[in-house]
């Protein structure tokens, strides 16, 4: 069983998510999930890598 490491980001305003997701993805992290108190539109729209879809990355 491999050790999984997660980085958790906590934010107080959802506007920070848009540039943050871009930066985090280009730094090579796989985004496991984003938890918000209300629906946020536009989080999954493409950066240069193409559209990012919400899905669970199943890793063993």
């Amino acid at each position: 069983m491999s050790v999984k490491k997660f980085v958790v980001g906590i934010f107080t305003d959802e506007q920070v998510l848009f540039p943050a997701i871009k930066k985090v993805r280009s730094a090579g992290y796989k985004i496991y999930d984003v938890f918000t108190p209300m629906p946020i539109h536009g989080l999954d729209h493409g950066d240069d890598d193409g559209p990012w879809r919400y899905r669970v990355d199943l890793q063993q």
Binding site: F35, P37, D44
Partner: protein, 479 residues
């Protein structure tokens, strides 16, 4: 981000996301107030009286009611149609306004949906208990049976009602509940007491706020809205068919479907106003259920009230133009004739439904809380009388005078049944307002950045510029 200052704020005051949660969850976490207890216990008392009234009728027979020839339907069906009509506003606000992308629905939709569900529960009582032999109520279900087999009459609107109303109830509950799940999770996440954590944990089904889940949640809301929208139109159309598909003068008319649907929205919005004006005062939610919300609902009331008024005048015209002497009698003798036994009911209906809502053409009146509250009660009284007029005034004087019925007034058990449904409705509503958020928390947060006052105040300088300046800036500076 450019946001118009022309449209007023939907969330007033200096609200951030945390404050929204605090304001809307506080009534749930606080102990029930004395006002809540008084209202709740009065409602339960009415409900108990209603149960006793129904028991009297079930045990001793429908003869306990004052229905007799030719008045086969009286308070029972009047009350049924009244409650079903009220339910339609909630679905319109939730479903149709979602499809129309109207942000103002978020302040009122949760309470309105709850109202719909409780109203449909109350409405359903009447067709069930008026059956007489209610222990044979399963006869209406279409299944292969050993009674022949005997199938229910699929040609009858009374059976169509069974399907229409149960479908309406099912879809409304699903829509209300799925919308509630994220808000129940909010209460769960804040809960300190063990029972509250457990209870809200169960009812929120493990909601985590994951972006994936929000996507599916929004898609589901659109699907349910798409299903509910035709129901708003069809359910009350089917109910109107209870009368329109008959042959009775005064009942048999093609105007009933649109007339009933408009009337349902009319009385439903009036009941929403009644509930919300009290709720916002008692729960201190004036910044979420603003004068804007109240005004725009009053506009719907004046619109649908006018449609209903036009329908009344159309009926009168056709009663004359048709040269059908029975249709003419049903309107000009049984209704318009102020000296007839029930003429008073017709004029009461006309003044409550046609004349009084015209006050809402005036902006000052639309934005006046006291006027709105009294009007909402008056409209509902008027709509009750509309159903009473349609039902009783069309059948109490049959074709030949020897068949004219004696004056129908309800027995104590009919009145008790009706009071019991108020008891059921308000018991459910008091429980709902205590245990669930009366306003959709997540939806308010979703529109906060767009329509919150504090964000509109931070708006850019665009609105101060003239159009030419704005266009010039946009062209030259690209922003």
């Amino acid at each position: 981000m450019y946001e118009s200052q022309v449209r007023p704020a939907l969330v007033e005051g200096q609200k951030d996301y945390h404050q929204v949660t605090e304001d809307l969850v506080r009534p749930i976490e606080a102990a029930p107030t004395r006002a809540w207890w008084i209202g709740f216990l009065v409602s339960v008392a009415c409900l108990i009286f209603g149960i006793y009234s129904v028991a009297m009728q079930v045990i001793y027979g429908v003869g306990q009611w004052n229905l007799h020839r030719t008045i086969g339907w009286g308070w029972d069906i009047t009350n049924f149609v009244w409650w079903v009509g009220i339910g339609h506003a909630g679905t319109l606000i939730s479903a149709i306004l979602l499809l129309f992308r109207q942000g103002w629905r978020t302040g009122v939709n949760r309470a309105a949906e709850a109202m719909t569900i409780f109203a449909v529960m109350c409405a359903g009582q009447f067709p069930v208990w008026h059956m007489g032999r209610v222990w044979l109520a399963f006869f209406i279900m279409p299944y292969p049976n050993s009674r022949g087999p005997v199938w229910p009459n699929f040609n009858s609107p009374l059976l169509w009602d069974v399907f229409a109303i149960s479908t309406y109830f099912t879809v409304s509950v699903l829509f209300w509940y799925t919308g509630l799940i994220p808000d129940l999770a909010t209460v769960r996440d804040r809960a300190k007491l063990k029972w509250r954590k457990f209870f809200y944990g169960v009812v929120s089904f493990g909601w985590s706020g994951s972006a994936k889940h929000w996507q599916r949640h929004e898609a589901l809301a659109l699907v349910l809205a798409g299903l509910s929208t035709p129901l708003v139109l069809s359910v009350h159309t089917i109910v109107s068919f209870d009368f329109a598909t008959s042959v009775i003068p005064g009942w048999h008319t093609t105007i009933f479907p649109p007339y009933f649907v408009a009337g349902a929205i009319f009385s439903g919005f009036a009941m929403v106003q009644t509930l919300l004006l009290v709720s916002r005062k008692v729960l201190n939610l004036q910044e979420y259920i603003t004068l804007e919300h109240i005004e725009v609902m009053n506009k719907v009331i004046v619109l649908t009230g006018s449609i209903v008024g036009i329908a009344y005048l159309t009926e009168l015209f056709v009663a004359w133009y048709s040269m059908n002497k029975f249709e003419n009698w049903a309107f000009f003798q049984s209704r318009v004739n102020v000296f007839s036994p029930y003429g008073w009911a017709y004029y009461l209906m006309m003044s409550c439904n046609v004349l009084s809502p015209q006050i809402f053409w005036f902006r000052k009146m639309r934005r006046n809380i006291t006027v709105t509250f009294f009007m909402s009660i008056i409209v509902n009284i008027g709509m009750w009388f509309e159903r009473f007029v349609i039902i009783v005034l069309s059948i109490y004087r049959d074709y030949v005078p020897s068949s004219w019925a004696t004056y129908y007034r309800p027995s104590i058990w009919e009145v008790g049944f009706y009071i019991g449904t108020f008891g059921l409705f308000f018991t459910c509503y008091f429980l709902f307002s205590k245990f669930a958020p009366v306003i959709a928390i997540a939806e308010i947060k979703h529109i906060l950045k767009r329509s919150g006052q504090v964000f509109k105040d931070k708006m850019g300088h665009e609105e101060q510029e003239t159009a030419e300046e704005f266009a010039g800036e946009y062209l030259h500076h690209g922003h």
